[in-house]
């Protein structure tokens, strides 16, 4: 038995509902799972099965309605807004769309992530941002606006931005869905490489069967429940 308190993520019988009264839908039904530090976990399943809801709950973006949800040992059930807000600083997020800030250059976008860190001077945060962009292979595009970057490049910026805040857990929601297959593959490999260098756990939701092999562990979800692993 390993010490569960050291886990990045611990979920025990988590339930979630949408809507009120008759229209109430049970989208997460007694979900239990865990992720240990440095683990890369992929979550697949048909659309509407509750994957994204699970992701937003883990990301502390939604209030937990019922069940046990601990991220880095912090109980999110009944957690205050402030607790959730502080927790988010340690969770990196990569979205389906890149969600970069349109008015900022690639470098500035990454620095928005680095600016969340305390105790570093402006110069240090700036050079860290450049370092991250170099790591994702965009050293020649530092001062380009998102509108001048390709889809793959934007997603790389998004990865650099997420990692610049030095998260201990990275949540990615179909990061390859807007990309062609070879670019998607590159992005996922890069994500895994950089995350493991930081010993950052990754939970990735994906439909893309070609990238399943990057996972240390694969979880399947259907109708709000996680299927027992095969």
């Amino acid at each position: 038995m390993k010490n569960i308190n050291n886990n990045t993520l611990n979920i025990v019988s988590l339930n979630h509902w949408y809507g009120q009264g008759e229209m109430r839908r049970h989208v997460l039904q007694s979900v239990s799972m865990e992720i240990s530090p440095g683990e890369v976990v992929l979550l697949t399943g048909p659309s509407g099965c509750g994957k994204t809801t699970l992701l937003t709950l883990i990301g502390a973006l939604r209030k937990v309605q019922d069940g046990d949800l601990k991220v880095f040992g912090t109980q999110l059930f009944g957690a205050s807004r402030k607790t959730r807000q502080n927790l988010r600083k340690n969770i990196g997020m990569i979205f389906q769309g890149h969600n970069l800030l349109r008015c900022l250059t690639a470098e500035q976008n990454v620095q928005m992530g680095a600016d969340l860190l305390n105790g570093f001077s402006y110069k240090a945060r700036r050079s860290q941002s450049r370092e991250w962009l170099r790591a994702v292979g965009l050293e020649d595009h530092l001062s380009k606006l998102p509108q001048d970057l390709s889809g793959g490049q934007k997603q790389r910026v998004a990865i650099a931005r997420a990692l610049a805040a030095r998260p201990k857990l990275l949540l990615a929601d179909e990061p390859t869905s807007a990309l062609d297959s070879s670019t998607g593959r590159e992005i996922v490999d890069l994500l895994k490489k950089l995350a493991s260098e930081q010993s950052c756990s990754v939970l990735m939701v994906t439909h893309d069967p070609r990238i399943l092999d990057v996972a240390d562990r694969l979880l399947r979800m259907e109708d709000g429940q996680i299927l027992p692993s095969v």
Binding site: R88, F95, N99, L101, D115, Y122, K123
Partner: protein, 391 residues
């Protein structure tokens, strides 16, 4: 040290970048704020200019104290009092000199087109001081001849091209109250509400032009005190010792007395203040619209920032800084245009409209208040930024 700390801790200037990367939006915002600012500058400038204009002559009087009749309400309705009161005032140990001034409106004939117009005429003893103006003594000397007047070259053009004629060396003669006078000099006083123009003449000529004036009755008495006298003290003791047909006040309260009449007995103050308020409201609406649509357009981005771990307060700070930046960027062109328009008004209406520090700062704070208030209202929209919706 502080600056060093700031440079170290500073972050990406998001508010500045949000604004400057949308040139059209910021131009509209600056135009709107500047417009509101210019409107306020003009309205308040006119208001203060009109009030200041009502005391252009008052301010020039060479006096520490002023005696008027208690029945006088303003410069356009001055009542007379016995000139003897000035002699009595001389008895006070601090008084070193007095000047008796007649003050009334007379009809001036424009020597060019022969039309008549009411002009404010001041009569005084030319050997005594009247105005603090350079070279006034020499000009006053010319009044020792009968039928001579000094004309105010800031008077409205309807009185005729007097100063142009005079300066070109031409002999300028015209009629005042039906009697022939000759212009023997030019002074610069300025028109006011009540008077479109001014002329100065000797008491002797004044009495000839206005024969109905009761003997020994004057409208204004100027009193000069020894250097270092306690003005308030002298005012008190003169008021106590002189009969009640005369009121003694300091020159400053005489000026305030006149301004107050225009402020409280006319709707001028209300009208222009209302105009400035309209400018303020228009500005508020424009800034609110700009900031609100800016927040709505960037809602997904704000939500992303919240998902990344930025708290609501830091995002509210971004909107507040946008408001602050807009207020500065809108104020500067408003200030410059205000200066230019004041110069235009001065040259075309001869109103003494100046950019005063107090008005410039009041309008700055109004614009700041306008922008920050609008930013505060636009912040409500930020509450709609739900980070859970962006997945």
């Amino acid at each position: 040290m502080e600056l060093n700390n700031f440079l170290k801790k500073r972050k990406i200037p998001l508010a500045w970048l949000l604004l400057t990367r949308q040139p059209l939006r910021i131009l509209v915002a600056i135009a709107g704020i500047s417009f509101a600012g210019i409107l306020m500058f003009m309205q308040l400038g006119f208001r203060d200019g009109l009030f200041d204009a009502s005391v252009t002559v008052h301010k020039l009087f060479d006096a520490d104290l002023v005696l008027i009749s208690p029945r006088s309400k303003s410069s356009i309705s001055m009542s007379g009092f016995p000139q003897r009161r000035l002699v009595q005032a001389m008895a006070h140990k601090d008084v070193i000199g007095t000047t008796a001034v007649n003050w009334n409106f007379l009809l001036w004939r424009n020597p060019e087109n022969l039309s008549t117009r009411s002009i404010l005429a001041l009569g005084f003893e030319p050997t005594k001081p009247l105005l603090i103006e350079s070279d006034f003594e020499r000009k006053a000397n010319t009044l020792k001849n009968k039928g001579r007047v000094l004309f105010d070259d800031l008077s409205r053009d309807e009185f005729g091209p007097i100063s142009a004629w005079f300066k070109s060396g031409r002999l300028v003669e015209t009629e005042v109250a039906g009697k022939r006078v000759r212009v023997s000099g030019i002074v610069s006083l300025g028109p006011s509400f009540g008077a479109d123009g001014n002329l100065i003449t000797s008491s002797e000529t004044y009495l000839e032009l206005s024969p109905g004036n009761p003997q020994g009755s004057i409208e204004i008495g100027l009193v000069r005190l020894k250097k270092g006298s306690d003005i308030e003290n002298v005012v008190r003791s003169l008021n106590l010792n002189l009969p009640s047909d005369v009121k003694v006040m300091s020159l400053k309260s005489f000026i305030d007395f006149e301004k107050n009449y225009w402020k409280s007995s006319t709707s001028i103050g209300f009208i222009f203040t209302l105009g400035a308020a309209m400018g303020f409201i228009v500005g508020c609406v424009i800034v609110y619209q700009i900031l609100y649509s800016d927040v709505s357009d960037h809602l997904p981005e704000y939500a992303t920032l919240m998902a990344m771990g930025y708290n609501l307060r830091s995002l509210l700070g971004v909107v507040a800084r946008e408001g602050f930046i807009l207020s500065i960027m809108g104020y500067i062109p408003a200030y410059i245009s205000g200066q230019a328009l004041y110069a235009l008004v001065r040259s075309s209406t001869k109103l003494p409209v100046e950019m005063s520090f107090s008005r410039a700062s009041i309008i700055f704070f109004l614009i700041l208040f306008m922008c920050m208030g609008s930013a505060l209202a636009a912040m409500k929209k930020l509450a709609d930024a739900d980070p859970a919706e962006i997945f």
